[in-house]
């Protein structure tokens, strides 16, 4: 088990957690109709949640690298870790990075910006990259290979990706509607999110709750390279593994992928039903900032963590009426919770699914 020492996010809603949480609470989204992405004109306009990248266009590094560095720096500073140590590894979750540069090179530049001497790891497991990156970080730390991990999730959108999602008819012209009867597809988004991890240890803990990654898993659907399993095979197995780590009655929510495509949300409803999680609150966040690709796992985990800490589960923006075979406990209203654990789940191309259990622990629990 590993402890989350600190975190930081940059979204189109705000360049920190507090501002993003406030925007979510106010029901605001980052979605706007765009006729270009960062200056690249589009054949068809796209509804997307895009960042203002001008602050990150500086000499010395690419825009993508600068965004990752800007997102990692506050998290590293707050954690108090020594990022120059050879016991610290940088792990980057991205699906495209700087598309024409090997992402291992990009990750190296980011690690070097902090004086880190170790070889970074890039996780590219399509849309599940973020959760998978947190998992491999946990495993490296648990295996004693490293003491600290700086896990960064980030993707910047480009015309190539936009036209790809358009040509497979996965995008909605309007703001996305996760789990809704009239959902039309996903909205593309971009963000950066960072988490600093270390081995859980009672000495780390003060009187406050400490968020820990209890474990998790990755499973393939073994069904199709782009469409999810009609029976939710991989996602079901991920959920079952999570339920072996945490009692479902203690879950504040399952933070689902909820892309608002027909197939994804239907598949998730089936997997949740098969895992007997029909009554557990479901949180789907993409109505606020779209599908942020490599950032999604970290971003949505960090937001869920902080909202639960404050005792609330965000409303599912865009949801109106049941639109999946099984009625999952999704809500258009904000809900209160006093529980302190949740599951974060993702699915992606390649038939891959991943999920982790995140829980707030206290000194006494760790001492056990």
């Amino acid at each position: 088990m590993v402890t989350i020492l600190s975190d930081h996010i940059i979204t189109p809603l705000a360049d920190n957690v507090e501002g993003t949480l406030q925007a979510i609470r106010d029901g605001r989204s980052g979605m706007t109709r765009h006729t270009d992405v960062h200056g690249q004109s589009l054949m068809q306009p796209i509804m997307a949640s895009l960042l203002d990248l001008t602050p990150y266009q500086q000499e010395g590094h690419t825009t993508f690298e600068n965004l990752c560095i800007a997102c990692a720096r506050p998290a590293i500073e707050r954690s108090g870790i020594d990022a120059t140590s050879s016991r610290c590894v940088f792990i980057l979750s991205t699906t495209k990075g700087d598309i024409w540069t090997p992402t291992a090179t990009t990750a190296r530049h980011i690690a070097q910006a902090f004086g880190n001497p170790t070889t970074p790891i890039v996780v590219n497991m399509a849309c599940t990259s973020g959760v998978s990156a947190m998992l491999i970080a946990s495993r490296m730390i648990e295996a004693g290979i490293y003491d600290y991990a700086v896990v960064i999730g980030c993707d910047i959108q480009i015309e190539l990706v936009v036209s790809g999602f358009q040509c497979v008819h996965a995008v909605s012209d309007d703001e996305c509607k996760p789990f809704d009867k009239n959902r039309q597809g996903l909205n593309i988004g971009e963000a950066a999110a960072t988490m600093i991890l270390t081995l859980s240890d009672e000495r780390l803990t003060c009187n406050e709750n400490r968020w820990c990654i209890m474990g998790g898993s990755v499973h393939n659907d073994a069904n199709h390279i782009s469409g999810p399993s009609r029976t939710g095979e991989g996602a079901l197995r991920c959920l079952q593994d999570c339920l072996a780590l945490v009692d479902k009655d203690t879950l504040a929510c399952v933070s689902v992928h909820g892309t608002a495509t027909d197939y994804n949300d239907e598949m998730e409803s089936i997997a949740l039903h098969r895992a007997e999680l029909d009554d557990t609150p479901i949180s789907a966040l993409k109505g606020y900032f779209g599908h942020t690709m490599g950032a999604a796992g970290l971003l949505e985990t960090i937001i869920t963590m902080h909202t639960i800490e404050q005792g609330w589960i965000p409303a599912c923006r865009g949801y109106e009426q049941q639109g999946t075979t099984y009625a999952v406990a999704v809500s258009q209203q904000e809900r209160a919770t006093d529980k302190k654990s949740f599951v974060k789940m993702l699915s992606g191309f390649g038939g891959v699914n991943s999920a982790i259990v995140v829980e707030a622990t206290t000194n006494s629990q760790l001492a056990k």
Binding site: V168, H169, H224, I225, S226
Partner: protein
């Protein structure tokens, strides 16, 4: 019409990388999806793109697309009627 059917069969083989198949092996009345050639949803999107590229046909309605892509004969009839190039 038969010539168009042959042409479409060749385009299907090319667009979907059905390298082990020949034009002769595709029956004009056999279903393209499901049992027939065993095509999937990405194949169907690829065929829709092929219709746009070579015949200037924009198939956006899912229900119509399903009817048009039933087999090579239905496809040829639709192309014959709606082609702009």
């Amino acid at each position: 019409m038969e010539q168009l059917e042959q042409e479409l069969k060749a385009r299907i083989i090319e667009a979907l990388n059905l390298e082990e198949m020949t034009v002769e092996q595709i029956d004009s009345d056999a279903p393209l999806f499901g049992e027939g050639l065993g095509l999937d949803s990405i194949d169907s999107l690829e065929l829709i793109m092929m219709l746009d590229k070579y015949y200037g046909i924009k198939l956006t309605d899912k229900t119509i697309a399903k009817q048009v892509l039933a087999n090579v004969r239905t496809l040829a009839e639709y192309v014959n009627e709606h082609r702009t190039k």
